[in-house]
């Protein structure tokens, strides 16, 4: 069967494209879109405080985050106040500085 010259070129180009795209198409058809990596805390050997936070981490990420931030802020504030009391007892003036650039 005789094909026009232009048609043969088109056939060759189409066959080449299929060969080139085939691996990509196969991967696209067979593979799933990669999701985010999910980390799960192993709670089997944990107790008390650690167990509570690991459970919360596994079950309610929002509450875990809120509690972590709240406790971190409170701990920072309390430790800061405690250190303020200790430093003020030493007698250092904390209201101005003498040194410049």
């Amino acid at each position: 069967m005789a094909f026009p010259k232009g048609w043969r070129w088109a056939r060759t180009a189409a066959a080449s494209a299929v060969l080139l795209l085939a691996p990509t198409l196969l991967f696209a058809g067979g593979g799933e879109k990669q999701g985010k990596l999910v980390h799960v805390a192993d709670t089997r050997n944990l107790k008390g405080f650690n167990l509570y936070f690991a459970d919360l981490y596994n079950t309610n990420r929002l509450l875990f985050t809120v509690e972590v931030i709240a406790i971190t802020a409170l701990t920072g504030l309390l430790l800061g106040l405690l250190m303020d009391v200790l430093v003020s007892r030493i007698g250092i003036d904390l209201s101005h500085r003498d040194e410049k650039e």
């Binding site: 990596l37 980390h39 936070f53 981490y57 971190t72 802020a73 920072g76 500085r97 410049k100 650039e101």
Partner: protein
């Protein structure tokens, strides 16, 4: 040795020595309060060296930094070093930048590239910052020698901020504590870029923000330190939230580090009262070089050597700052006794 101090962290499952975490907290508290930063540039590689996966090191670091910065910021505010208006102007853009940086880290984690890419970007920025700080310091010294005691005035030898202040895109805003008047878009742009890098590197921004405030905005060193800590505190909380939601915070490690950081932050912050601004910049530059060397060693597989560099540099510099603080405090107390015997 000291196995009884080793605990397995509940979320990441990483075994770690508690004493190391507390000591890291002390050191990072001292140096962070002194330089006006979260100190995460030390904590992230240190935690990574301790065995934390990089995304956990970044998240844990940001969370600990938020708690510690509360302590340092309160102290700097009492010294009058915090320009709240400048800090709040920069904050929104900083947070947007951090979110973009954090998303980039999660993307790299999915590709399995988070560790190496973050470490090399670290190295490049540490090198650039150290070069700038040393260039500025030695240029200032040369200017002082040339003027032979006549004084060169306040401020930096590197004066990029003067060129940037000439860009008059409205609104023009005055920041009274920093003594700066410029387009609002200057601090906004700087904050966005710093935030993006901070979210990517997990460094809270202080490492980049402190030199950016000095060299690009034109703040005096002390105001840069105080204002920086204010933005680092808020950015740290936002970073903790976003990494918490992504499940990359090891809370128990945060608490151990905070216990050490609380007294350390007080010492570091009070030390700025007794040490000149350019002295702070010089120690900052040395610290950045040590951090850079440790990250390079880690990248080429010399993990043990990297640990020694980080721990050695942090210990020596912490001691330098502590000695500066205690000597200054002793001088002040002696002077007080002299006035009122």
């Amino acid at each position: 040795m000291m196995d009884f101090l080793t605990v397995t962290l509940p979320i990441s499952g990483v075994p770690v020595n508690v004493l190391l975490l507390v000591l890291l907290g002390v050191a990072v508290g001292v140096l962070g309060g002194f330089f006006g930063m979260g100190g995460a540039w030390m904590v992230t590689p240190a935690l990574n060296i301790f065995g934390f996966p990089m995304p956990f090191a970044v998240g844990t670091d940001l969370c600990h930094m938020a708690g510690k910065s509360i302590i340092s910021t309160r102290r700097h505010a009492k010294f009058g070093n915090v320009d709240m208006k400048l800090g709040l102007t920069m904050l929104t853009f900083d947070v947007i930048g951090i979110e973009i940086g954090a998303r980039l880290v999660m993307f790299l984690e999915r590709l399995g590239l988070a560790g190496p890419v973050i470490r090399w970007v670290y190295v490049v920025f540490l090198f650039l910052i150290a070069s700038l700080v040393f260039y500025d310091y030695f240029k200032k010294r040369a200017m002082e020698r040339a003027s032979a005691g006549a004084g060169t005035g306040e401020g930096s030898a590197v004066r990029w901020h003067e060129s940037l202040h000439k860009i008059k895109i409205p609104p023009i805003v005055r920041f009274p504590v920093a003594g700066v008047e410029c387009s609002m878009w200057l601090p906004a742009s700087v904050a966005f870029l710093v935030g993006m890098l901070a979210g990517f590197l997990g460094i809270g921004g202080g490492l980049l923000m402190m030199p950016a405030l000095v060299y690009l905005i034109g703040c005096p060193t002390y105001v840069a330190v105080g204002t920086d800590l204010f933005t680092v505190m808020i950015a740290g909380f936002y970073g903790a939230f976003t990494y918490g939601m992504k499940g990359r915070i090891e809370f128990l490690a945060v608490l151990f580090m905070l216990m050490g950081a609380a007294p350390g932050a007080q010492v570091g912050t009070i030390a700025t009262k007794y040490i000149r601004g350019y002295g702070i910049r010089l120690i900052f530059g040395i610290t950045v070089v040590c951090a850079m060397i440790s990250v390079i060693l880690k990248q080429v597989g010399l993990t043990e050597a990297a640990t020694w560099v980080v721990m050695g540099a942090v210990s020596v510099l912490t001691l330098v700052v502590m000695v500066g603080m205690f000597r200054g405090a002793a001088r002040e107390l002696r002077a007080k006794k002299g006035v009122r015997p």
